[in-house]
């Protein structure tokens, strides 16, 4: 079960993910990111502070947008990952391709 909220904070789209992203709920995550990109936003913060768990399917969602974002000059920062979730990103090596930050403020600084 996952709940994703999108808020615009001073020109930055903030996606707040609450709950767990598994094979079935990864579709919601995909839709949320897709919608944000569709609207042409260039700065995205994914707030993972309340993300409890992410499965490989969820990681696949982030992965699938890396190329597209790079091409379109979209910046995305994942912030507030808890150690467990961070570890999952690190094992896969995805942390090397995605920007991460401790919190939203840091994330915003990174994108300036």
């Amino acid at each position: 079960m996952v709940d994703i909220k999108t808020i615009n904070e001073k020109g930055i789209e903030v996606l707040k993910i609450v709950g767990e992203v598994d094979a079935s709920s990864s579709i919601q995550l995909d839709k949320a990111i897709h919608d944000v990109l569709e609207k042409g936003h260039k700065k995205i913060i994914v707030d993972c502070g309340s993300l409890e768990y992410i499965s490989s399917a969820g990681l696949g969602v982030f992965m699938s947008y890396i190329e597209e974002m790079k091409k379109n000059g979209v910046q995305m920062v994942l912030v507030g990952l808890n150690p467990k979730v961070k570890n999952v990103f690190e094992i896969l090596g995805l942390d090397q391709l995605l920007n991460t930050a401790k919190n939203k403020e840091e994330g915003k600084i990174m994108m300036k």
Partner: protein
Amino acid sequence: MFKAKAIARLAAFLATVAWFTWLVTGVSNIFSHNNALPLEVNPQVPLIAVNLFLLFMYVFYKYRIERADNVNFIDLLWRVFVTGLITTVISIFFKVIMILLGETALTQDSMFLFFIYTVNFGLMSSVLISSFSVFRRLILYQKSKILITVWKVFHYGLLVSLVYNVLPFPFLNNIFQYYLFFLVVLGLVLSANMKWVAYLNFRQKWKGILLIGLALFYMGYFIWTIYNLSTDFDTLGIPYNDYKENVFFIALIAFIFVYTLFSLLVLLFNLPTSSVFEQKLEEVVNFQKLSQSIQTEQSEDRVYDILLESSVSTVFAQAAWLELNHISSPVYYCYNISEDEIKKIKAHLEKKKVKGILEKGPDKTRNLTRVLRSIGGSRFRSMIVAPVVVKNEQIGVIALLKEVSDGFNREMEQIVSTFANQAGISIENFRLLSEALQNERYMEELKIAKRVQSSLLPAEPESNSDFDIVAFSGAADEVGGDYYDTHKINDHKIALIIGDVSGKGTSAAFHMSQMKGIFQSLGQLNLSPKLFLIKANNALSRCLDKASFITATYFMIDSKRKKVSFARAGHCPTLYFKKKKNKVDFFKNKGLGLGILRNESFEDYIQESQFSYDPGDIFVLYTDGITEAKNKKGEEYGYDRLIDILDAHTESEPGNIREAIIADLYKFIESETLDDDYTIVIVKFN
């Protein structure tokens, strides 16, 4: 327990004996009376004999008729008729003898008259009691508690009256009228139970009227005969057992007469309505046919046919059609009407702003008679339509037509609506059944897929004198995305891979088989682990879908140099036990999952490492299905538990280590099933 038949025979025999006793003692007393001699036999004896005779007759018919199974109403009435016929014939036979004898001394003889009286009395009781037993079954056809109670009171009242008849106490004479009145009233009350009449069809009712009419005639004949005889005795002043003093007999006559008369009248008055009842029955049968059609018929077509037939026959429609919405054009099932006619009617309805009869609306059945009235050149004058709905979706409509105006009443609308609903349910069931069968087929397919996939994993991983490899893999669904394999490159080199496809289920299984193909082809090339992963990433970049990736770790075990080189593509870090240091730890080197970065830069993220091994060293490969397995509290099995369990079993055989880890895992999750694929590979060096 006596058999009912034996009891009936015994009762018949005893009744005959009682009757003879009555005859003999009665005649003897009349003889004494005529010759002014003292009575030879106590007058109480013939009286008791009469009542015993009645009792035994009662028992006889009780066992003959009441116990007979599966007898329909007409058969029961037939029994009454036959008994009546036989007894009447016998009685008339004696009458004819009397007439033939004419005014001879014998016919004037009171003893002979007494004989005739006893014969007629016996025959009449037989008619009465057999009718009583038959009526009991008719009355109690649809029982209620109160009806059974009333019947019991009546029935015991009758039996007690037999005892009352013979009691020699004069004061009892005073209650004679009350007793009789009580029984007659009860008989009247019971005579109101005529429900069985409704279950006869038109023909049966006619038969019933005939049989009961004749029975009534016998009754009249007997009453007349016995009345005449007793009047003769009364005028002659001869002592005989007057039927008029027998409560049982009189109450029975009253009851049988009333019930027969009532039955006759009720049958007569029900004749005109019997077609309605038959109609209702037919509706029920049609309804059943519709609901059962799904079990017997294997096609929806048949259900539609039955719906059409049933509706037509129950509402007496002259024509009808069933129209099913179809992607291109509607499909018609016609009865007595051509498609051209249908189109004409539909065009007319549309013109009259009835928004097509396929219009959806909360009002189920619609009577379109008024709209139809204005159509020219059509033979039809009234029409009703009902939608056929399956799973809240209207799939079609049934229209029924009549050549008379106002041919459909509210009832008929309801019936058609019910039929259409039932047909909808039948179709729905039929579809569910087909779906279930389809699902079963899919399950079979998946089982085959499972077998095929398990054959993709090595039955026996490669080993040599330097090390043993054991493995285990389980899938959450029928098929999964975990993969491990070994490949012998030469005598001292073995390639080992473990992989995990993102996601699970069928899509993961397909990607897993692609990985197998890549490993089996690239593995032969004796590539370094890093180069292998680069090539594999290259290959997978072209065949994995956008959001899928595969994590893997590739090992090259060189038993000549006692070295293992490996590279990790985003797979779970390898667990390693170094015997010399007696320490369990993870190899943490850099890596990136296959298919994540689908270009040349992938190689920048891959790091190749190397380590030497000694005897007793162990390394454990696994997939995240193990470390991420959750218990009921939502805790993950995690890395630390994995370290601990390996630490506790470092001296064990690799097979035992595998079992220990699996057992510990299941103990932790406290469940029989995991929701992810999981794999474990253990390599132990000798």
